[in-house]
Subunit: 324 residues, 2 copies
Amino acid sequence: MEVLCAFNPGASMVNGRRLMLLRVAERPIQEKGWISTAVMDAESGELRILRFQQGDPKLDASDPRAIIYDGVIYLTSISHLRVAVSEGRGAFQVASQSALTGSGAYETYGVEDARITRLDDTYYVNYTGVSENGVTTILSKTEDFQNFEKLGVMFGPDNKDVALFPEKIGGKYYTLHRPAPRHLGTLAIWLASSDDLLNWGRHQVVLKPRPGAWDCERIGAGASPIRTEEGWLELYHGVDFRTRYCSGAVLLDLEKPWKVIARSEQPFFTPETDYETGGFMPGVVFNNGLIQVDDDRLELYYGAADETTCMATASIRSILDSLK
Amino acid sequence: MEVLCAFNPGASMVNGRRLMLLRVAERPIQEKGWISTAVMDAESGELRILRFQQGDPKLDASDPRAIIYDGVIYLTSISHLRVAVSEGRGAFQVASQSALTGSGAYETYGVEDARITRLDDTYYVNYTGVSENGVTTILSKTEDFQNFEKLGVMFGPDNKDVALFPEKIGGKYYTLHRPAPRHLGTLAIWLASSDDLLNWGRHQVVLKPRPGAWDCERIGAGASPIRTEEGWLELYHGVDFRTRYCSGAVLLDLEKPWKVIARSEQPFFTPETDYETGGFMPGVVFNNGLIQVDDDRLELYYGAADETTCMATASIRSILDSLK
């Protein structure tokens, strides 16, 4: 296997150190004339290599992220989650082993795009589990980022971009989530509530794509919302008709988080550098890891072009001032 | 408005009488050269008529159930739920008014396909809420089938064919549901559990479509599972590659309802009569209303061709004997 990309990290301060959970995408070393990928066997837990001959009329390899063979969809890589830690402001040390690897029936195509939320002195890590059963969100918890307890599928397929609120509101847990309906409806951000983090209900739409805007095609939540005096600040991604991924913000009512107070007319963060406008998936900045270092300053850990992991800083005040 | 169809009833014995909750589909009386439909305004609660000129190049009216205009999907009719009651074994009297009508943001295209489950001396009615936000399942409860309390969206979009188990198992409520994922995965039957009927979690797949079989394209649960000595008997619908809807059965473990004991190799109920093989949607029998009249005998209230409401009887023993 070879590492294809390391991107879309979850992030958190853990015991005074910056910690990322990187999505590490691997694939078999490619042979000439063949396209190959790997899936995890749900029963044995072993990797299984799948090989497809280039030029096979049943093969559609036009999307760099997917292989479609005879109508069946596979991914071109399989991801696991790996810890990287930075002492102070120094470089990140990437662990030599996986922290969280796909297992069971809902993760045969891998685990992706972690979000880390500290709640009640426990770190909850939710991530995307991909398999032939669909794209689901799975909740896990950990104390040390070495041992994870998988708590089951939070939302059935397709659902991703799940961002837990970092505290209870009115006695209930809340989360943002992003169903992807097949027949009707847009790729919008929904809100759900829970008494125990495991069972979720009272689903409602909070934010929809806007026709003609930078976020016209689809939107999805990033990391956990940030509490500010003016409301919950959520940094989300929006995708336009050219599949360009940018970051914008929405401000939600502190007590009634289904109420939108303000929203970015324009993105505050767009693909600009060559590693953002080019690469594996050109034109993508995707942020699901956020560390608040003081009252105003945010560090955004983000994936560029579904390939590399980058960091940017932002001012909460200036983002709030930009909202309408 | 005119009634187009009355079909896909939920059913239950209520105070010793047979009761159906019919799906009544209405549309504006059609004018020559135009196709029109109606949607409920989420704010005002008033019906709004939409008119499309036949032959407009932006109009796609090829599916009898849907109108697609400029990429936006509408339904050709709007449904409400209406009570019909039979004294003894006599004819059903259909109420003159709606029992449950679409309201709010998740029911603007109407409410469809009720399932009735008696739990803790309350009748729970779950139904499909259709709107521009997607196809969701909404839970309501009633004591008298006149006043309904809507309890919110159980499952975000797309999700329908929700069948609650009629009693707790191991201290938890269970339900079957059918997500319709956009990107990956099949139209399969999932199981979820709950402590309170409102919040659901621990989602897992229990039954998938089978390539090449009568249920190859999609499957979905019917009415609530029936307790038998051998397991939970669920009558479900399966759809083949010609969009033919038939009924089959699956037997689930009494204590571990995620375990499949047996399943129909062939459907026990198929479209045969002219009102099943012809009509609004030819080739459809769809059962979501079931009344168990004694230890062995079932009455299946079902929709034929998405148009009419019919009744068939079946023997639990003979269905169980047909499973493999």
